[in-house]
């Protein structure tokens, strides 16, 4: 099995009396798009900063791309969109990106080409000649994302990349991230859980500086072990369904009219098989179906995990 792109074990970080990270454990598989989910002040930005070497951990082990965080070792291999960092105001976007690319070891010509390429990713090519100080908040954010893609690094950390972006550019960025799936490891933090669910393979819930849960998004949201059916007003044949399905757990939320069926997945029992069996029985009992699906939303799981 491949070594993870990023692994943290029992990492602590204090700022005076504030204990920002309280023994975070994390393992980010190579090639995955990994979501870091948590409320404000959970320690996500601190965690990113520790991984990048901006902050020093007080305790714990951090392995980034098979070694300790050391800028000279992962020069050009690790990139990040720091949350609050500001670009200088006076030079143009192109000059900034070319400079950063050159710091990664590129020749002037390659750096210029690379700057143009990454500006294309965030749809900012037409603003390459604009002074950074004249850009809007969303444009600055997109330049920040662009610089993280310079030189196609192996590991990219994006701290709230879509915050402040308009819906179209947020969508485009999500698509751009999705297109890198399997090619490089991307860790994204965001409050938009629907967005994370759509693009991420793996996720971790962080709260109060600790990892609450982590794993594949499909496992966290029980995609393979839970189905739900939304019933329209009318018959509620819950007991009949329980009897029909046998060794499964059936939960009925009468307020939201959602029926949840949890089961042990096996070679002959996939989520699709359970859906088919449940629907057959419900329809046979005269129930009216208004929706059906697999698992729970990431948001739901997050709320459950942090309750």
């Amino acid at each position: 099995m491949n070594a993870p792109a990023l692994a943290l074990t029992a990492v602590h970080k204090r700022f005076g009396a504030v204990h920002a990270l309280r023994g975070v454990d994390l393992r980010v598989p190579r090639g995955s798009i990994f979501a870091l989910i948590g409320p404000n002040g959970a320690g996500k930005t601190t965690l990113f900063s520790v991984v990048c070497g901006f902050l020093r951990a007080d305790q714990g082990t951090i392995t980034v791309l098979d070694g300790p965080p050391d800028v000279m070792r992962f020069k050009g291999r690790l990139a990040a969109l720091p949350q609050d960092a500001v670009l200088g105001r006076e030079l143009t976007v192109r000059e900034h990106l070319t400079f950063l690319a050159r710091l990664q070891g590129m020749s002037p010509e390659t750096a210029r080409r690379e700057a143009e390429r990454v500006l294309g990713i965030v749809d900012l090519s037409e603003l390459a000649g604009r002074r950074a100080g004249t850009l809007s908040h969303g444009q600055v954010k997109r330049v920040g994302v662009a610089q993280a893609f310079l030189g196609d690094p192996e590991l990219i950390l994006l701290d709230e990349p879509t915050a402040g972006l308009d819906p179209r550019h947020a969508h485009d960025l999500r698509e751009a991230l999705r297109s890198h799936r399997g090619q490089r490891t991307i860790v994204v933090s965001s409050h938009n859980l629907q967005e994370l669910e759509a693009i991420c393979d793996e996720a971790a819930f962080i709260e109060k500086g600790q990892t609450l849960e982590a794993g594949a998004v499909s496992a966290l949201t029980a995609q393979d072990a839970e189905v739900f059916v939304v019933l329209a007003p009318g018959p509620e044949p819950i007991d009949q369904l329980r009897a029909h399905l046998g060794d499964v757990a059936v939960e009925w939320d009468s307020q939201r009219r959602v029926l949840r069926v949890s089961f042990q997945p096996g070679p002959n029992r996939a989520a699709e098989d359970v859906i088919a069996a449940a629907l057959r029985e419900l329809l046979a009992q005269g129930a009216r179906i208004s929706g059906v699906g697999k698992g729970r939303s990431l948001e739901q799981r997050y709320l459950e995990a942090t309750r």
């Binding site: 900063s49 990048c52 070497g53 901006f54 902050l55 020093r56 800028v71 000279m72 992962f74 020069k75 050009g76 690790l78 990139a79 990040a80 720091p82 609050d84 960092a85 500001v86 670009l87 200088g88 006076e90 030079l91 000059e95 400079f99 950063l100 050159r102 710091l103 990664q104 610089q147």
Partner: protein
Amino acid sequence: MRDAWLIAGFDLRESIRTRRALVLALLYLLVASVTSYIYVEVVKFAQQATSEAISGISDTGEKMAAAAAAGAAQGAGYTGLLYVIAGGDQQIAGHLATYPPMVLVFAWFSLGALPWLIALTSYDLVAGDLHLRTVRFVALRTSRGAFVLGKLLSQVLLVALIAGLGMIPVLVIGGAYLPSFDVLDCFLALLRAWPILALFAFAVLGPVACASQLVRGPGAARALATFFLFVLWILGVWALFTPAPLSLLRWLTPFAYKTQFFHPDLLHRLMNAAGCAALCAGYTWLGFQVFRRRDL
């Protein structure tokens, strides 16, 4: 070093487009213009006083003798002034005399003003990037040492550039107001003075760079840089009147290196330049001991 030069070039390009660089340039041009103008006025006054003194003398021989005496007196006064500037060092005073007086006045005032101008304009060379977290874009791509060195080099280049600009008013004012002004001679002397200003800026930037690495906010960095320079200035003055070995403490201050740039011996001047570089490196290194460990 490649990264440091890249950072220096980028930072210099950014710096020269800022309002602060414009202020530094204007202040420096003001200093150059005012000192040049004062010099011109002093020369005119001396010439006028001499001509008034000898205008009442009717005898041609006596007139010539009086003019010669006045010239000699002025010459003696100037030599005495050089002796004072040289800190009582006869050799240095002699070498100072090889500079056109107007260039010397400009260089001397510049050396006096530079530390305070630098404290006012370069204080945030690191603290500014820490404050805005701009450093985070660079910190993933190069070492902290290269970052500080690049920032330092950019400020030295900026000061050298602005010091070069300061030569223009000297040539313009001298050429416009002094009838016997030798533009070429003055220009060549200014070129000799230019590296002195840049090297002295290096020495001054050491304590300023140290202060800028110790604190995060630009305001605190400015206050600390000014405080450092003030303390070093006091230390330098105190050490002058203190017997050895305590008097050696003056070499810890940039101000001690000013006069030695005008020593006639080239090796001595090179040693002095090396001293400036070492002082800059020493103070910067002290600050770096905090910066290399700090959270960005």
